[in-house]
Amino acid sequence: MIELKNLTKSFGEKQVLKDLTWSVPEGRISVIMGPSGGGKTTLLRILLGLEHADSGTVSGLEGKRLSAVFQEDRLCENVSAVSNLRLVNPALSRKSAENMLEKLGLGDALRQPVRELSGGMKRRVAIARALCTEYDVLLADEPFKGLDEETKRRTMAFFSESAREKTVILVTHDPSEAEILGGRILPLDPE
């Protein structure tokens, strides 16, 4: 269990997290939902160790291998999708990387530099990168944002299958995504 106790975080005058206390179950998907500016991304950044909370504690992540789909794609634009996957997991064979990308409908774009891919394709590369690495906890910030309905359906099915029995904390605005993924919903209410 990942335990968050009395987490508080402010940026200047603006308080984005106030006394947040949660228990996040392991081995399943948990979906954080809440309004824009409600602190969802800040919470993920704290869990990823990229931001420090003003007060409160996070336990249960010590020694765990983390993976992430960031709100932005954060890909190396000058190299191929395969190279982006192998960057985070050097043990991954070229063939395995290609298979994974093909399953996400990127079979025609394996060798192109990422900068030549469309927004939706880049998003899928970012998702594949998060899933191809060895991880214990995956934190995903609106991973399906910008995908058309058909691609989103296909990508979500692949995501659910790949992350089965893994601890996933996923941020979304879309209740239907939470429903399809079948995760436990954690409402983040700024009040």
Binding site: L48, G49, L50, R65, L66, S67, A68, F70, E72, R74, C76, E77, N78, V79, S80, S83, L87, V88, P90, R111, P113, R129, T133
Partner: protein, 259 residues
């Protein structure tokens, strides 16, 4: 279909325009020389060409080019290495940055002639152009690379932190693509400068068998065709080296991108 026929046409047009501009200035030069009609003040392009055809078959011509080329290139490459290393260390350690910044500013602000005369006191004249081209290029590479490191994409660095990407891979995938344009720009500026400063150093230091010595001799004997011919040679060698270096650099980058 339209694209494939338009591209060569526009390329040909561009070549024709450039050639036309060069021919225009050659004509101006030729007419100027004819109007002055004093070889000692201004030789015509035809006379320079004739002098070049006399110089090119001689062994001394190629030896002089080899002498200067080798030394200026060594100075340039050493400056690239030193500039990159100092910039990397300055980005990592603030103490080194604090110590290096005034040094680089001083080198940038000091006149080349002062450096040449100073360095002549410490270094044999035959190696003067190595040191001078090194001194001229190092601050350019240093400031460009440091600027590149300072503007690194923090989001990519966070990504590498989360995925625990190893340092060698961080360098190869994150730093190298970001820094190469900065390095390329530094090289483009530095290559022209190191030839100018390197030959200037040779003209003052007069190392035997260098291009600078040949220029100086031409000046002493008022051999204007020789002076012009050697100047043309310096320009051509400098441009050829710049093009070759940039071609090799771009090809290396393209290979890295495909890897």
């Amino acid at each position: 279909m339209t694209t494939s026929t338009t591209e060569p046409t526009s390329k040909l047009k561009s070549i024709l325009i450039k050639t036309g501009a060069a021919l225009f200035w050659l004509c101006v030069w030729q007419l100027g020389a004819m109007a002055i009609n004093q070889k000692i003040i201004l030789v015509s392009p035809v006379q320079v060409f004739v002098r070049l055809t006399e110089l090119v078959p001689t062994a001394a011509f190629w030896k002089a080019i080899g002498f200067s080329f080798l030394r200026i290139t060594v100075g340039f490459l050493a400056a690239c290495l030193a500039g990159v290393l100092l910039a990397a260390l300055s980005a990592r350690f603030s103490l080194i940055r604090t110590l290096t910044a005034p040094l680089m500013s001083t080198i940038k602000a000091t006149p080349v002639a002062s450096f040449i005369i100073l360095v002549l006191l410490w270094v044999p004249s035959r190696n003067l152009s190595v040191v001078i081209s090194f001194l001229m290029v190092t601050p350019i590479v240093f400031s460009n690379i440091l600027g590149g490191i300072s503007s690194m994409d923090s989001q990519l660095l966070e990504m590498a932190q989360v995925f625990k990407v190893r340092p060698v891979r961080r360098f190869r995938y994150l730093y190298l693509p970001q820094l190469l344009p900065f390095f390329r720009s530094a090289c483009a500026t530095g290559l022209g400068l190191c030839w100018k400063a390197g030959v200037a150093a040779e003209v003052i230091g007069l190392p035997r068998g260098s291009i600078g010595e040949r220029l100086y001799t031409a000046k002493i004997y008022l051999d204007t065709p020789d002076l012009f011919a050697w100047t043309v040679v310096i320009i051509l060698v400098s441009i050829a080296f710049e093009r070759l270096f940039m071609f090799l650099l771009d090809r290396t980058v393209a290979r890295l991108e495909r890897a």
